[in-house]
Symmetry: C2
Subunit: 394 residues, 2 copies
């Protein structure tokens, strides 16, 4: 289960809401486990997931009828209130199979004309006939936003976006497993590139190798910043025909999506031996990152981790080091909450998954960065990213 039921109940109770309605693709997936295919193709498609503030509550989905085949084909999902029109035909002489029978059964349920009517029915099914509910507005099109007040006339509606961000901070075991797999896929793809890199290989070629490795293992490329030599100093370096030369730094800031969950790691290699300055500066960013990680545990404050990262990287060899953040939560989005930054007073809790990083970008010289993903535990953390953190000479 992706939804952290206990935490969701606490957040809803504290906010004084009887239910929450998720509307963005990430939030719908979080609440229900379901990712709509229609929405991937037709961005304006309205898909909602509703859960009530009761421990025993099962989420209810609102989705277009065009989504029902994927729901039927992909095993058990939440009950659904379907809306709209979609024509499929059936012939009694046709092949009978579980996925078709289940699809037919879903198609024979009551249909609603609009997503708003379906949402209203979903709330009533959950026993919520009125009162205060939280609505994540980020997946609503402007026309949908306009029709919501009439459809939810009996309810007092408050914004649910930040409540869902808060719920999503502490991960369930299923979420951790998916982030771990996404991270493994990215780490494997880095190794795949490094095992064949040679002088003259271009950033474009390395990115292609990376992306192919990711896709072959069931991931979707999300973040493929691979910069060589001086170009490694461009923070979001995009694949170019620049070719790697002997002595060049190769910076990987990379990640992918696996089963809706993200990974984001950074590793540094050098073709041959790094310069003395690159080696010295890399030791400083690694020391800064490792010191920050040693402060990670339940009860630590995000801003405190940031302070350790900056202070240590400075004293370890980059006295002018500065950053706006030294990490972030990760999950359904590459940047979940909290932010490891001076403004973020979030107290870390067991089960949070965070990235810690100390990137240093010096234009015309190099970008040096190590970024790890860890699961916060009661007395420390567990690495989800496990590959070699040294400045790897290849």
């Amino acid at each position: 289960m992706l939804l952290n039921v206990k935490r969701a109940m606490e957040v809803m109770k504290r906010a004084g809401v009887e239910a929450i309605v998720a509307t963005s693709p990430e939030n719908v997936t979080y609440v229900s486990g379901y990712r709509s295919f229609s929405q991937q193709i037709i961005k304006a498609t309205q898909v909602y997931a509703v859960v009530a503030a009761r421990e025993d509550c099962k989420p209810v989905l609102v989705a277009p009828i065009g989504d029902l085949d994927c729901m039927a084909d992909r095993g058990p999902i939440a009950p659904v209130k379907a809306y709209g029109v979609f024509h499929v035909f059936s012939d009694s002489a046709g092949e009978s199979r579980p996925e078709f029978d289940k699809f037919l059964a879903l198609l024979s349920d009551r249909r609603f004309e609009t997503p708003q009517q379906a949402l209203s029915a979903a709330l009533k099914d959950l026993g919520i006939g009125g009162g205060r509910i939280a609505l994540d507005s980020t997946g609503l099109t402007p026309p949908a936003r306009q029709s919501i007040p009439a459809a939810l006339a009996g309810y007092s509606v408050t914004e649910g976006w930040s409540l869902l961000r808060e719920m999503r901070m502490v991960k369930t075991p299923e979420e951790v497993a998916r982030i771990r797999t996404a991270t493994e896929i990215a780490e494997h793809a880095v190794s795949a590139v490094l095992s064949v890199v040679h002088e003259g290989m271009t950033e474009i070629e390395m990115c292609e190798l990376f992306n192919e490795s990711v896709m072959r293992r069931g991931g979707v490329p999300l973040l493929t910043c691979i910069g060589v030599g001086a170009r490694s100093s461009l923070p979001n370096v995009q694949p170019s025909p620049a070719a790697v030369k002997r002595g060049d730094i190769i910076r990987f800031d990379v990640g992918c999506v696996f089963d809706c969950y993200c990974s984001d790691i950074a590793r540094i290699a050098c073709l041959g031996s790094p310069s003395e300055k690159a080696a010295r500066y890399y030791r400083a960013v690694l020391e800064g990152e490792q010191a920050a990680l040693s402060g990670v545990r339940a009860g630590a404050v995000a801003a405190g981790i940031f302070d350790i990262a900056i202070r240590t990287t400075r004293s370890a060899g980059i006295p002018h080091y500065a950053r706006h953040h030294c990490g972030h939560g990760i999950g359904l989005e590459c940047y979940d909450m909290p932010s490891i930054s001076p403004q973020d007073a979030t107290v870390l809790e067991e089960g949070m998954v965070i990235n810690v990083e100390t990137p240093y970008y010096e234009l015309g010289f190099a970008g040096l960065q190590v970024e790890d993903t860890v699961l916060v535990t009661g007395d420390g953390f567990e690495y989800l990213s496990v590959s070699d953190r040294s400045l790897r000479a290849v």
Copy 2:
């Protein structure tokens, strides 16, 4: 240029607005040509593009400072009002290159604290100190939506989402070129699969081959529905271990994204000879699609094209045929306006790019579908999808 300047001016004048502010990734790209990398990784990142209702007007961007390296690296883009904090360092001893110098120049410009302040400055730079402006709200986070009224206190703000959808309907030559390339990549990938398909090959294997072919030619997979045998009758069929058998229909409803523009085509093959029924029904859907296409020209009404598609497919051999739409605009989104459906009274114009399709899904039997992308011309249309439309025996 992606923005259809003449049409944009007409739409803004008709709506009585002095400028439009795009905020969703697609709309920002449309107005400015720019796609933010930060936003791809951090969905909540605020990036805006503003254009005034004046023929000579150049768009202005609002973007986080973290975007400036990509802007500098990727050649000429619109002027930008940057906000936020991002640390990069420079060492006079470092390598000097155009992309670094340009990045440094962008970094030395005035910085704003918040995207709202940057937006207000962008409007003032465009000479718009007050009056009515249209704001696409679909890219705003709830906190950004809350701060907008204060930041735009001197303006009367109306929703811009539907205005941008209307502008985007008639494509510029650059947009057509990108859709054409995205379509070529998808058609090539279908051929790549069909050239190696053999009895026992699974849907998963075919989807992997398709996606690899797309990526190798610079596309990003978007829509990879490849269903074999009875599973081809699932409209959104997702890759499964089902293996193709002799006599099986293979339905491709596939597309990709190239340089932010989408493709979406459908083709049918059969491993060996199709059944008499499949051949007969396919002739009907092809006849329906071709009849609908023969009605496509500037001045035709979307709903009229739909009528022809339904009527012809019925009379050509599927008397019970029904659909909710028989096509859609395509561009920055897979479903742009108009919709080829009974409710859509849009009059087609030269330069629109639309898909026409007559899919037929019979559960347990097969899905049969042909879908083409065409550019509407004064007296007809030009195919952007050009591959063999027959039921291909392989």
